[in-house]
């Protein structure tokens, strides 16, 4: 094992150690329980950063990543699975997001969860999640990836239901787990299909076998080697992504998952786990690229989720739910980007979102903390002065989310929209523009209701409002930095960044991810086109900015504004008259388009009836048969036990008879 291979292993081993030690001794540590779990995550971040910065120097010729085989997991004849890890540029990007946000959330939790009796338990779960998520992005085999996939599901379940005495939390955790399971079935089937077609579960090898080596370009006859068409595999894998990344129609679990503690929402349900689906599709990009129909489907599901969730976010009153629906909507953007073939844009948005959404969630947690666990924005307002750090960082996040240049999310969102338009998916672009208006609107509605205007806080709580401790505000500011600068840093094509990294003319991220996506893009047959500020790109850019400003101004007009000299009062009467003008749309949005009711009807009422009918059939027909067999078996077992008389003479006789039978049978066998 080389140094780097060992370091890659260390990235996972550190939080794993933290998890094990905390699980064993954490209970006794009381309020000091945070040291053991937090320190390894910081260490893991350091190691990851070092590996990312240096691994290109040690790559063997002709490879684009470090592979580490820890051990042969399943050696069963021709079916072998190595427990292997792999770091290439795509994994590196994910590592940056996962370890950075993960570390900051750990630090933030030190303060946020301080008053909770399950302090140590929280960190145990959090560490388990880190291990699982890191394993997910590092996995080199479909089976290891699936294992990690299930592990993040499990840790997410544990964390959503962390306050398990709260009924809604327990129910939300179950909902998340079960909804995810639906997608996972598809994912598992996809993995089996890959094995059937290729005979290997190594991710890189199987993709190469499935769609032909990178040099072959468009797929040849290999695409149907094992009989299962590639588009089927692509759709099965996508089913897994739909579950984990909460896309329509499996999106229902994410808003409810906000029942978990806020650091969990930030870590799992905004910055890391929900991105696993995007990562999966990006990782398998050659497979998807070989199946244009599947790609179009991905794009359609993505953009539909984007507008659906954005429309719901417009009217939510729970601060975390607004952010949750916003997350859904932005994930929809990412899938739309993947579907149109703009893989780099999707990963770019993933990064920008990871930091910005992480920031917004942590900031919302700080707000909730300040107003004593109140999440209803109608009972907030005017918190600007009292929570200066929270307010400023959250405002930065909101501006970034709305797509105002030059903040990070502006660049990433614009790239998605621009690429969609240029690649011939104008309908995706058109819907995406609508979503952009809504995004800016609901973000500033959130800021307006929470921080601006008059206070609507419970008078009993009002005097006790205070800014959160340093362990909570420092992570906010640390997350604000990438939310602002990431966009420029990753896309600026000119000096000094471009030449510094040897990627002049295409932007840092685009050049960095090129080796990952060129295979898929080769299959798609698309060329990179230079950015033309004076041409189509400039026009699309202008439209993006214009709609973002429009949404923002609309929100200001309705819910007020207090930025420096810009002042405006909120207009509740206008809001009321507007909602009255479109009563159906308003109610649809406020009731999440009745998805929970539809699910209730389909799965609980109708499904319950069917289940009852099946239960009757099972009880009376299947069980009858099974019980019959069981009774028969037992009776024969009892009969056989009766042979066991306890008398040695009988036993000896039995053996003697057996001996005769044995010798006789040998005479028969050998009497040839």
């Amino acid at each position: 094992m080389t140094l780097h291979q060992m370091l890659v292993f260390l990235i996972i081993a550190l939080p794993l150690t933290g998890f094990l030690v905390t699980a064993l001794v954490g209970r006794r540590l009381g309020l000091n329980a945070f040291w053991i779990p937090v320190a390894p995550v910081v260490g893991s971040w350091l190691v990851a950063m070092y590996v990312i910065a240096t691994f290109h120097d040690v790559l063997p010729a002709g490879t684009d990543g470090i592979a580490v085989t820890l051990w042969q997991w399943i050696p069963a004849g021709t079916f072998t699975v190595d427990f292997g890890l792999f770091v290439d540029n795509l994994t590196a990007v994910l590592l940056v997001v996962v370890t950075t946000v993960g570390m900051l959330v750990h630090v933030y939790s030190i303060g946020y969860m301080r008053h909770d009796p399950g302090y140590w338990r929280f960190f145990v779960y959090l560490n388990l999640f880190m291990v699982s998520m890191l394993l997910l992005v590092l996995a080199d085999s479909w089976l290891v990836l699936f294992l990690a996939w299930e592990l993040v599901g499990l840790s997410s379940y544990l964390l959503i239901g962390f306050w398990y005495r709260k009924r809604t939390a327990a129910e939300a955790s179950k909902k998340a787990f079960i909804t995810n399971r639906v997608g996972d079935v598809g994912f598992a089937l996809g993995i089996m299909a890959i094995w059937v077609n290729t005979g290997t579960l190594n991710i890189r090898d199987s993709i190469e076998l499935l769609v032909g080596p990178a040099s072959m370009g468009a797929t040849g006859s290999l695409a149907f080697a094992g009989g299962i068409p590639v588009w089927v595999i692509a759709l099965l894998l996508f089913a897994g992504a739909v579950g984990k990344s909460a896309q329509f129609p499996l999106h229902v679990w994410l808003p409810d998952a906000m029942e978990g503690p806020t650091p969990v929402s930030a870590l799992i349900h905004a910055a890391t786990m929900v991105n696993a689906g995007v990562y999966l599709v990006a990782r398998a990009n050659p497979i998807f690229a070989s199946a244009p129909e599947a790609m179009a489907f991905v794009a359609a599901i993505g953009i539909f989720t984007a507008i659906l969730a954005a429309s719901i976010a417009l009217t939510q009153t729970d601060i975390k739910r607004v952010l949750a629906y916003s997350t859904l909507s932005q994930l929809g953007y990412m899938f739309a980007a993947l579907g149109v073939g703009a893989f780099t844009a999707a990963i770019f948005h993933l990064m920008a979102q990871g930091f910005t959404k992480g920031l917004l969630f942590l900031a919302s947690g700080s707000v909730i903390h300040a107003v004593h666990d109140e999440q209803d924005m109608r009972k907030m307002g005017g918190l600007r002065k009292k929570l200066p750090h929270t307010y400023r960082t959250m405002l930065i996040g909101a501006i970034a989310m709305s797509g105002i240049p030059p903040l990070a999310a502006f660049f990433s969102k614009d790239e998605i929209l621009g690429e969609s338009f240029k690649l011939g998916f104008q309908w995706v672009w058109a819907i995406g523009i609508l979503v952009a208006v809504m995004t800016a609107f609901y973000m500033f509605r959130l800021i307006g209701l929470t921080f601006w205007g008059k206070s609507r806080v419970d008078p009993a709580v009002e005097p006790k409002i205070h800014e959160s401790p340093r362990t909570m505000t420092v992570p906010l500011w640390l997350l604000a930095i990438p939310s602002v600068l990431l966009g420029i840093a990753l896309t600026w094509p000119g000096p000094p960044l471009g030449p510094l990294f040897g990627m002049e003319g295409e932007g840092l991220l685009g050049g960095y991810l090129k080796p990952i996506f060129e295979h898929g893009q080769e299959i798609l047959g698309r060329r990179e086109e230079a950015f033309q500020l004076a041409g189509i790109d400039g026009m699309l850019l202008a439209i993006s900015i214009a709609v973002a400003l429009a949404g923002m101004l609309a929100a200001w007009r309705l819910f007020g504004v207090e930025i420096g000299p810009i002042r405006g009062a909120s207009r509740p009467a206008l809001v009321a008259s507007l909602t009255k003008r479109v009563p159906f749309l308003y109610r649809a949005s406020a009731n999440n388009w009745w998805f929970d009711d539809i699910n209730n009807l389909v799965f609980v009422v109708v499904g319950g009836r069917i289940a009852n009918a099946l239960a009757w059939f099972d009880r009376n027909v299947v069980d009858g048969v099974v019980n019959g067999i069981g009774a028969l078996t037992r009776r024969s077992g009892g009969g056989l036990a009766r042979v066991q008389t306890g008398r040695v003479q009988n036993y000896a006789l039995g053996i003697a008879l057996g001996l005769i039978a044995m010798a006789g049978s040998y005479f028969v066998i050998l009497g040839r």
Binding site: A76, Y651, G654, I655, L657, F667
Partner: protein, 499 residues
Amino acid sequence: MPNDILALGPFIAAVSVAIAVLLVDIAVPGRRGPVLVVSLGGLALVAALTLTTGQAVAGGDGTLRVLAFGGAYVVDGLTTFLDLIFVGIVAFTIVFAPDYLEARGLPLAEFAMVLLFAMTGAMLISGAGDLLVLFVALELMVLPGYMLAGYHKSDGYSTEGAIKYFLLGSFSSAIFLFGLAFTWGATGTTSIEGVSGALAAAVAGGGALAPALVLGLGFLTTGVAFKIAAVPFHYWTPDAYQGSPTPVTGYLSVGPKVGAFALILRLFVDALGPLRVDWLQVVIILAVFTMTLGNLVALTQSNVKRMLAYSSIAHTGYMLVGLAAFAAGRIEGLEGLLYYGAAYSVMNLGAFAVVAAIQRRAGVTSGLDTFAGLGRREPWLAILMTLFLLSLTGIPPTAGFFAKAYVILAAVQAGNAGYTAVGILAVIAVINAAAAAFYYLRVVVYMFMREPRSEDAAMAHGRLMWGGLVVASVLTVVLGLIPGPFLDIVGRAARAIGG
């Protein structure tokens, strides 16, 4: 000659350890510490010596075979592998025993000493190169077993079980010896290599085999089938197992069983190898009966010790599946059999250790009711028991899963290669494995979902007991999670004899 002694080194060391335990007990009577130190330290020494001897004598890859004492004793990869398993089994048994024995006023020193002598017998089997050595070794292994079964002298059940075990065991030993005599008469030699050569010549020459040899084969198979408790020669198992003190039952369910399988490897695979196609058919029938009957009767048991006894019969059946696959030309079958032996030893000893721990207070039965509410009373014990039971059921990622998977996979491959009967055997094994889940998981249900009959306080368990349980559970998981390195060793041992 000095090299011969060297080859026999581990065996001599084992005998010395047994004698040393005896001497220690004479010097400082009735003390637990010295006995444990000498026996466990001695076992570590034996293990180390086994490893170095195996390396030095048989070469790194273990396929080289060294003959000592004119071929009466052999050292190869298989010898080393089996010896290590025996050492492990005995070490676990000694670790798990003191709590149980002390509660009943039974001395530890004699227990350890007798057990160590039994181990020397098993070690001699694994290196036997001559039929007579094989027989002497077998007796050396089983005679201490009879003593152990009756170790609780004041307990009627223990004595009864021991007497039955002894009578039937002697009966079957006589049958086995008879078989050896016939074989010697027919081939004119008692050396394993000689027998193998003579049989190969006879098979190559065509024509019918001498009737004495056929009869001998029948006697040998019967004798061996008794020792591994294959149906219909299993009658002694339930009585002997239930009557014996629980740590002894744990030992009896794995030690003599793996020892008898070592006998099969030396006798059937090695000496009678040329007739493998013929005894294969008998093995298939034995395997079907053994698995099915063991599981069926286990289903109806309400005593955990008795249930584990019958389940041990079923596990014999699974191991026979591996043997059948090997006889049908798949070396993987032999690997699976060896892996199964190791995995089964660890998980079954673990399960029996939990039963013994629960019975720490004298008078506690091993009935299913005793386990009710254990999950609340002693959660760690219940969790460990669940792990061992899951492994015995064959749930991944435990050792038991891979053990079953390997023998069944090998049988499937043999079935694909034209041995349809072996393929069918694989199917029967899978059905049996599924049925077995019922009675294993029933214990889990009792532990976690049933209210206890009486509110007993949790019992304190010695550090030794916990240490042993942790090692056993870690091995159970590690063997299942990372079987690769261990499979290399198994593969080497298998190639030494069947390559």
